[in-house]
């Protein structure tokens, strides 16, 4: 760390003026990308314009299926087989790229433009030392081999640039490093060719929250120090606002809105951006109502001749479906694809101010008198890894869950939160201490016992693997019912009722999982857990695999289940915004121990433990959050320093032995 880190501050006027004067780095015009299928061509991007100035940082924000990754891949010329850029131009530094041969395009990659990938766990070759990854980039750029010593020295210098001061890292293998360190190495390797344009595809998504903040800050500073252009691809508006000068909002293969980060944040000019901003659960207060955009992202093909957002827009009119609206300038440096903007802008503004002025939901009142449904008493869990090495996932955890209460278990990867959830659900056995479940009659039951199945059920994170891909929804829901001895027709009625409970029409019983979206699958997974009428639902990161606009739908469902069925919830998550919205009591887990517990508002507004403060500081926060809580900015800054120092945490060090 050479320079002091400044608090996050969106592009200043001077910076923007300088960028404007510097001219274009990348100019994509009317790019159409399609995939080939037996049925013909299917659009992935339908006419995308993207302008990136020299030294500018641009975010491309979109949900899954928006085509944001394909946009990045078409710029660097790495489209997968069967996907082609059909028309449009990609001008890089004044040179038209789309006409070049693959060989000529390859010369740009790793040199003038590079790509930083999402997952540092797979983007580095596990058989090469970290230094080698960087030296490869250096040699590519110089076109000749470096001597061993020179390469090593250069790699050490490059690692220092990304905040790794420890020279021994060059001789380590990627698997010996933590996720944050790996992403730093990957960034150093990407920067080895001294690119003028860096495209970062969800660079922080695979990392822990505290590490995320640090990698984003590093990207921002590197961009500034090198004066290179940066394209940040992300699904997270908060990330985009905290790092980028300008924002492109991509939806179903079309850009719906373009504008400066702050402008888009304060006054979105497209109903989609507006909806996204409102459906993002807030971390700083409990909302009365969780909003969401109903429905799911359509295929770009199915909305070729209408406004792409028409199917989900609350302001849709026949004229929106009459033709594909153009992306038009609507204000200074602002573009929007909404043709009804003039009519609806006041309404959107009113909704937004109502949202900001909305009173916070009353803080949940955990009723002390109510009986407990689960009690975790001094639980230890030790895993044996490859026969010998011991990993202590839980080191003496004690907590209780009351009937009808929603309890949050918060921590980063390796904190043991998932292990504890699995122990309570009976999928793992504890190695020390005990877990007591209490049924309605007051009898004590251990997890894993047959009777416990009627008491506790679990919902998993990944909706794509939590359903049997070969079983229809109806059969999947009926199976546990039949197992309990229910006859066929009763089971069928019950399935319909369960689908209704999770907000899906009865007809979904005939569908197969691959015909469902992520949110719908998660609803089915919840319905399946509800078949045995459990009293406690263990939810292991149930919304973190879902798009922002869908997350809120599922969170609302959880709130309803609790209010209407009186279900107790154990929410395992890393996302503090989720915690704020659905949890009454929160336990913060760090390296297998509970470091802080209490009512959610208490813990989040007045964190006592150092680690809790770190977590809260690392939320990529909206500005008013930051200003509303003096001290947080400083906290964030000091945390970044702290973490860099001890980035290789004990859990990671174990890999070195």
């Amino acid at each position: 760390m050479t320079s002091e880190i400044e608090p996050i501050e969106p592009a200043s006027a001077a910076r923007l003026a300088a960028i404007e004067a510097a001219g274009a780095m990348l100019d994509v015009r009317d790019l159409v990308v399609s995939s080939h299928s037996p049925a013909g061509l299917a659009n992935i991007l339908s006419g995308v314009d993207l302008y990136v100035g020299r030294g500018e940082t641009v975010a491309i924000v979109g949900e899954s299926g928006s085509g944001k990754s394909m946009l990045a891949k078409s710029i660097v010329g790495l489209l997968p087989a069967g996907v082609d850029a059909l028309s449009g131009t990609i001008a890089f530094d004044g040179t038209e790229l789309s006409g070049l041969s693959p060989k000529a395009r390859a010369r740009y990659r790793g040199g003038k433009m590079t790509l930083l990938f999402q997952d540092p766990f797979t983007s580095l070759n596990p058989l090469l030392h970290c230094g080698k990854h960087i030296v490869e980039g250096l040699q590519l750029q110089r076109g000749k081999r470096l001597t061993r010593a020179a390469g090593r020295d250069a790699a050490i210098t490059r690692l220092a640039e990304v905040g790794i001061d420890d020279p021994t890292v060059v001789d380590r293998y990627p698997f010996q490093l933590s996720g944050g360190m790996r992403q730093r190495v990957a960034l150093a390797a990407a920067l080895a060719g001294d690119p003028e344009l860096l495209i970062a595809d969800e660079p922080s998504t695979a990392l822990d929250v505290t590490t995320q903040a640090e990698i984003l800050e590093l990207l921002r500073r590197t961009q500034e120090a090198r004066g290179m252009s940066l394209v940040l691809i992300t699904h997270d508006l908060r990330v985009a606002f905290s790092v980028c000068d300008r924002i492109y909002v991509l939806y179903a293969g079309s850009v719906l809105e373009v504008g400066k980060g702050r402008d888009v944040q304060t006054s979105p000019l497209h109903p989609y951006t507006h909806g996204l901003l409102l459906s993002e659960p807030t971390a700083h207060r409990r909302q009365v109502e969780l909003r969401s955009i109903e429905g799911t992202v359509p295929r770009p093909d199915s909305v070729k001749t209408e406004c792409p957002f028409a199917t989900r827009c609350q302001w849709v009119e026949p004229q929106c479906r009459a033709g594909r609206p153009a992306l038009l300038p609507v204000a200074l440096d602002r573009q929007s694809r909404c043709i009804r903007l003039d009519d609806i802008a006041p309404e959107m503004a009113a909704e937004r101010s109502a949202f900001t002025l909305e009173p916070d939901a009353a803080p949940p009142m955990p009723e002390q008198s109510v009986a407990e449904i689960a009690r975790v008493i001094d639980v230890h869990k030790t895993f044996m890894v490859s026969g010998r090495r011991q990993v202590r996932a839980l080191r003496g955890v004690t907590l209780a869950i009351r009937r009808g209460e929603s309890v949050g278990l918060v921590g980063e990867s390796g904190s043991g939160k998932t292990t504890l959830g699995r122990c309570i659900a009976g999928l793992e056995t504890v190695t020390g201490g005990r877990i007591e479940l209490q049924d309605g009659a007051g009898a004590l039951i251990a997890p894993g016992e047959h009777a416990a199945r009627r008491l506790v059920q679990i919902v998993f994170q990944d909706p794509y693997s939590s359903l049997d891909p070969r079983q229809r929804v109806g059969a999947a829901l009926a199976e546990p019912l039949r197992q309990m001895g229910m006859d066929k027709s009763t089971a069928r009625r019950k399935v319909a009722q369960l689908l209704h409970t999770v907000g899906l029409p009865e007809q979904y019983a005939r569908r197969r999982p691959d015909a469902l979206s992520g949110g719908e699958r998660q609803r089915i997974a919840i319905a399946r857990a509800l078949t045995v009428e459990p009293q406690l639902l263990v939810c292991d990161e149930p919304v973190s695999a879902l798009d922002v606009s869908v997350q809120a739908q599922i969170l609302r469902l959880f709130r309803n289940l609790r209010d209407e069925l009186g279900l107790s919830l154990l929410f395992i998550t890393h996302d503090l915004a989720v915690v704020r919205q659905v949890v009454d009591t929160v336990h913060i887990l760090y390296q297998g121990e509970v470091v802080e517990s209490g009512p959610v508002d208490e813990v989040m507004d007045r964190p006592q433990h150092e680690y809790t403060r770190r977590l809260i500081a690392s939320i990529p926060s909206e500005e008013h959050d930051m200003t509303a809580r003096p001290g947080l900015v400083e906290a964030a800054t000091s945390v970044v320093h702290d973490i860099i120092k001890d980035d290789t945490r004990p859990a990671d060090l174990e890999g070195l032995r």
Binding site: G65, T205, Y464, S465, D514, L546
Partner: protein, 289 residues
């Protein structure tokens, strides 16, 4: 990573579209396999009796009357190849079918139940894999006799171990997935999880195994016949024809080359079709971690 999961799933749904229409080679393979199957079922005597000798037409090259000529005893090569579909289909089919049944039973049991069940099954598999199956078959058939039927039995016994390993591996891949864990936590019985959930999800691998087993058994049985160990010396069997007609290679090359070619084509066709079926029906890629 969460979002990537969604994106990847979408991506694979997309790319799956490409696999839906079979490539030309697969269509060719399918047509050839179907033709052999058709002959096996309806046309084994379409070109006359495979045993009818004509001593006036010994070792004739291909002609309008005998499309592939005649062999050393004046028998029509086409008739014998058509008749040969019987042994060519039945033996490999039995071997592959027994492999499929035994391997799905033991492979899923070893992978899902684990523990002692796994240890016992897999040590037996290791032991059997250490023995050269074809060699054992040669010894057993030449010492004990029994011909074609005995060859099928011995090859079946030695064929299943590889399949068991593969099915066990596939089962281990499914076992930690959330959908299996959800079923476990719902109290669904082990037997049901194994056969109603894991079986259909490893079925694509069973199909691929079936095709490979079929092709290997076809070649192995032909090889045994070539050595005179499989079917009766006189019977129309492709491997035996290949061996017997070597003598007249320079008079009527088709008499020995044609059966050899048919063996190769059938083995390749079955493999192509099996591979394609595997791709077509295997589940879309799921999230990595």
């Amino acid at each position: 990573m969460a979002v990537a999961t969604v994106a990847e799933a979408r991506g694979s749904r997309l790319s799956r579209g490409f696999r839906r229409r079979p490539p030309f080679s697969v269509i060719l393979g399918f047509v050839f396999f179907a033709a052999i199957l058709f002959v096996f079922m309806f046309g084994r005597t379409l070109a006359g009796s495979p045993y009818a000798q004509s001593l006036r037409e010994v070792s004739k090259p291909p002609s309008a009357k005998h499309w592939l000529g005649t062999d050393g005893l004046g028998r029509d090569v086409v008739a014998r190849i058509l008749a040969g579909t019987g042994t060519a289909i039945i033996g490999p089919l039995l071997i592959a079918a027994s492999g499929l049944m035994v391997s799905s039973l033991l492979g899923i049991a070893a992978g899902y139940i684990g523990g002692w069940t796994d240890t016992i099954i897999m040590r037996w598999v290791d032991f059997m894999l250490a023995l050269p199956g074809l060699l054992v078959a040669i010894v057993v058939v030449s010492v004990l006799g029994g011909g074609y039927a005995m060859a099928i039995v011995v090859l079946s016994v030695f064929n299943v171990q590889g399949d068991i390993r593969i099915v066990r591996g596939a089962t281990l891949e499914q076992r930690p997935l959330p959908y299996i864990e959800a079923l476990r936590s719902l109290g669904v019985k082990r037997r049901k999880i194994m056969f109603r959930h894991i079986f259909p999800n490893v079925a694509p691998i069973l199909v691929a195994n079936f095709a490979i087993d079929f092709a290997l058994a076809l070649v192995a049985l032909a090889g045994l016949s070539f050595l005179g160990l499989g079917s009766q010396p006189d019977s129309p069997e492709w491997g035996a024809m290949l061996a017997a007609n070597q003598d007249i290679l320079f008079v009527n090359a088709a008499a020995s080359l044609a059966p050899g070619l048919v063996i190769i084509l059938l083995a390749v066709s079955v493999n192509l079709v099996g591979d394609w079926l595997y791709d077509r029906y295997s589940a879309p890629e799921r999230s990595g971690r």
